[in-house]
Assembly symmetry: C2
Homo-oligomer: 220 residues x 2
């Protein structure tokens, strides 16, 4: 049989994620998780050093699902706008069950000390996975994106995705309709905006933006 240990870990994680979805982050107390899972509080802490780590579990799971669903959605779409839409919409899709809990999630994720912080070290793997989705969206698009943009674009789009996620968290409209609208409107605009890179005057500005991004990124 599967390791008893691993079984307990899974049990705690499953119960926690279920409760996150059903009653939200704050109401899901460690004591409640333990009781529902039929273990002691201390035992839950044996597997997860903090409540934050349970959130990380959720983050990873959502990320994994996004990768799968997005890859599927990208299969028959060629143009950049469509591919962007696909990636963003599927992202929102997989997060949807956790919407009410989203703000607490973000509040947790945003502190540098958190293991869930998307910019932090503890979630390098998850971030890379997410970045890979955007890279594939950019690279697989035809007509192709201007070569000089191709390198940095995925990262910038991922950053924009973080912004969309933030918007989604605050979106109180029914079914987060406004976020959908934002995606549908912004994706084609980004694509069109990028195509302007051919215009000489614009091209220079683009170059400087990229230069700035690179400068700031590598500290120095």
């Amino acid at each position: 049989m599967a390791q008893k240990s691993e079984q307990t870990r899974q049990l705690v994680a499953d119960v926690a994620l279920k409760m996150f979805r059903e009653i939200g982050f704050e109401k899901t107390t460690m004591r409640a998780i333990a009781q529902e899972a039929g273990v002691s509080v201390g035992n839950a802490y044996y597997y997860f050093a903090s409540k934050d780590e349970l959130v990380q579990e959720l983050y990873i799971q959502v990320q994994d699902e996004h990768a799968v669903v997005a890859a599927q959605a990208l299969e028959n779409v060629q143009d950049l706008a469509g591919r962007l839409k696909a990636v963003l919409h599927t992202g929102i899709d997989v997060m949807a069950p956790y919407h009410q809990f989203g703000s607490d999630f973000i509040a947790t994720a945003i502190r540098p000390s958190s293991p869930v912080n998307p910019f932090g070290e503890a979630s390098t793997a998850a971030r890379e996975a997410s970045l890979a989705i955007f890279r594939s969206a950019v690279e697989g698009s035809s007509p192709a994106v201007a070569k000089k943009l191709r390198g940095d674009l995925p990262e910038l789009l991922w950053l924009a995705y973080m912004g969309v996620a933030l918007f989604w968290v605050y979106d109180r409209s029914e079914g987060q309709r406004r976020t959908r609208k934002l995606i549908n409107g912004a994706a084609p605009l980004v694509a069109r905006g990028l195509s302007l890179a051919k215009i000489p005057g614009v091209s220079k500005v683009f170059d400087d933006v990229l230069g700035l991004v690179r400068t700031v990124k590598e500290d120095s």
Copy 2:
């Protein structure tokens, strides 16, 4: 003599802000604040319904100072890039003493339920004050900003400012050098980018961006 009540309130607020600056958000416990101020814990709660409200006090104070310092810095600067730089740099200046505490501040501010949430109702006044700074930066600039942009630009710049603040929080470089660099690089780029609005092909994209912003803003 000044109201005893108001005196106590000020005392608690002053002690709290001082401790925030000196030992950070988490180490500044309500009990410690109360003890340092020579009042009971319950008494502190009589004036501030939560620790968050003490953060709001800080937010308002920082905002007020920014308004003053920014107005001064704008006095002899005409071009948009320079005016943007002035507003952003002074913003970072007034926040500087609280840098180490910044991440907790953001984590607090970002939850919709928080009184400090910059998008929320409880801080409408503070947000308006901040927005006013950007409006004055845009309106007072010469050469003037394209008319069709003038209405929405301050709000978009304010949004970008929130992004800069976020970057600043994560900026671990000495004296937040990287944030300064980002501002110095981005401000002229924004100004140059806006001047592209005259180019016909670009103009259309700009129109659509503004249209999207408006659509999303007013829900519908």
